[in-house]
């Protein structure tokens, strides 16, 4: 049973491509991955997932962390189907209610959670997110996951690992490692949510 790949936030109208008009802003922004590079990276992660989960009896469950983790999970699922012929199970897991920094920030809007119909008990679950940074999002996701059942294996796939971990967490599948300063911001853009594909690095002023 496959949950239809609905993408949280995709119904919002995408902003126009590259809105930075200030020359200083443009020069401070560096393009790290182009659309074709993103497609290649997604393909590579899909192949790695197939290799590492070949022995398991059931197909892996891809759980995207909204918003852009869900987009990435759907894209990975599509490529996995092309390469293996079997459609993987896909869902999304909003982790906002499990965050440990809720008191330090303005309230966040909650995004969609959709679990596979068969549940996650004893399955191979792959958490999918766009950027791995402090590791706190992944910690919250592990907490959230525990409430839904007990997977036999949980793995983590990310498009970008930018370092600066605050918790002992590492990804099983990494699209690209990007050395950054703590104050920089790495923005992943997807056509489904932003109108264009790119990974951009904005240096701290």
């Amino acid at each position: 049973m496959t949950v239809p790949p609905r993408i949280a936030g995709a119904d919002r109208s995408p902003p126009p491509a590259n809105t930075a008009t200030d020359p200083a802003e443009i020069s401070a922004q560096r393009l790290l991955l182009t659309p074709s590079e993103i497609a290649r990276v997604v393909d590579r992660i899909a192949h790695q997932i197939l290799e590492r989960t070949a022995d398991s009896s059931s197909p892996p469950i891809l759980l995207g962390i909204p918003t852009r983790g869900s987009v990435l999970a759907v894209r990975l699922a599509q490529r996995l189907e092309v390469f293996s012929g079997a459609p993987p199970i896909c869902g999304s897991l909003d982790i906002t209610l499990y965050r440990d920094d809720l008191r330090h920030k303005a309230p966040r809007a909650l995004e969609e959670t959709s679990m596979p119909v068969g549940g996650i008990e004893a399955a191979t679950v792959i958490l999918v997110d766009d950027v791995l940074f402090s590791g706190r999002t992944v910690r919250a996701a592990l907490d959230a996951l525990r409430e839904y059942g007990r997977p036999s294996v949980v793995q983590l796939a990310v498009l970008v690992d930018r370092g600066h971990r605050q918790l002992p967490i590492r990804a099983d599948y990494v699209g690209k490692n990007i050395p950054t300063a703590a104050g920089d911001s790495v923005d992943v853009r997807f056509t489904e949510t932003d109108g264009y594909d790119a990974v951009e690095l904005k240096r701290a002023p």
Partner: protein, 305 residues
């Protein structure tokens, strides 16, 4: 989102929709789970301050706070220092000293939660004050309407009965009209408040005429405990003119829903066959109550402190 939730009138269209969207997400997040508990408000304290009897509202707020892992203190005026003569202000200071992060206040005097909000640092949620307002009930009703009819905007909704004593009606009129519904109030003239002309509603005394083709009919409880005098000749006559029976039920739109905030007076306001019949969402309103209140507590308490 305002700092306190005292009146449905404090909510803009945007903030009301934000609460309803958050409610839906919370419903999704706990649906079909064995453990229906979230760690979101761990370590925060919610006080249920109830000066007036209430079972369902208190239970609903208590369940909501506990499902978000908050610590809950229930305070009912009966058997407390209030019966020894302690004032609301002194109680407020006590709660302040305890470190209450949120106070859910029900009081028989209109405006008591508003007063309270000036004395404490925590967030105050009005859980019904006198004949004034009950904003979370209005949010529950709007959420239920949206769930069944897709949207509140443009929907025709009839609210029937004891409007003058009903804080539920007052909050619903404010919220439903903010969200773009067309609201009609139906009641005997004696049960309509003064100044109703300024409310954003139409008024009709003929229940049959008002019901034709509406999307939702919301019955109110006849609040006998607040009636010093007779507001209508007999229970039977009230029931004949303003009770919802099978014949009247057939007048509303095919997709229409029947609502009641509870507790119901069966046989008088609503016939048992309608209350338990198709299109009745009365039990669901209670279930939705918990997730709506979870959303309100989350949005008020998770903000930067």
């Amino acid at each position: 989102m305002p700092r306190h939730l005292l009146s449905a009138g404090d909510l803009t269209r945007e903030s009301a929709l934000h609460i309803l969207d958050t409610t839906e997400r919370i419903g999704q997040a706990i649906a079909g789970r064995e453990v229906r508990k979230l760690p979101t408000l761990r370590g925060r304290t919610v006080v249920n301050l109830f000066y007036e009897d209430s079972t369902r509202t208190r239970l609903s707020f208590e369940a909501a706070a506990k499902r978000l892992s908050a610590d809950v203190i229930n305070f009912s005026a009966k058997g407390s220092s209030v019966s020894k003569g302690e004032s609301l202000k002194d109680t407020a200071w006590t709660l302040q000293a305890i470190g209450a992060d949120a106070i859910v206040c029900r009081h028989s005097s209109s405006g008591a939660p508003h007063q309270l909000s000036g004395w404490v640092d925590g967030h105050v949620i009005n859980a019904g004050d006198g004949t004034h307002e009950h904003p979370t009930q209005a949010l529950i009703d709007a959420f239920t309407v949206r769930k069944h009819l897709g949207d509140v905007e443009g929907k025709r909704i009839v609210i029937v009965g004891d409007v003058i004593h009903s804080r539920v009606a007052r909050s619903n009129v404010l919220l439903l009209s903010t969200l773009g519904a067309q609201v009609t109030l139906v009641a005997p003239p004696t049960l309509l408040p003064k100044g109703i002309e300024s409310w954003p509603v139409t008024v009709d005394y003929d229940f049959d005429r008002a019901l034709a083709g509406v999307d939702a009919v919301m019955m109110l409880r006849v609040q006998r405990e607040r009636m010093g005098d007779a507001f209508f000749p007999t229970t039977r006559e009230y029931s004949r003119q303003y009770g919802l029976d099978d014949r009247r039920r057939a007048l509303i739109a095919n997709h229409g829903i029947v609502m009641h905030p509870g507790p119901m007076v069966r046989g008088m306001e609503i016939s048992p066959s309608v209350a338990d019949g198709p299109g009745s969402v009365i039990v669901e309103q209670v279930a939705n109550g918990v997730i709506v209140r979870m959303a309100v507590l989350y949005l008020l308490l998770s903000a930067r402190t």
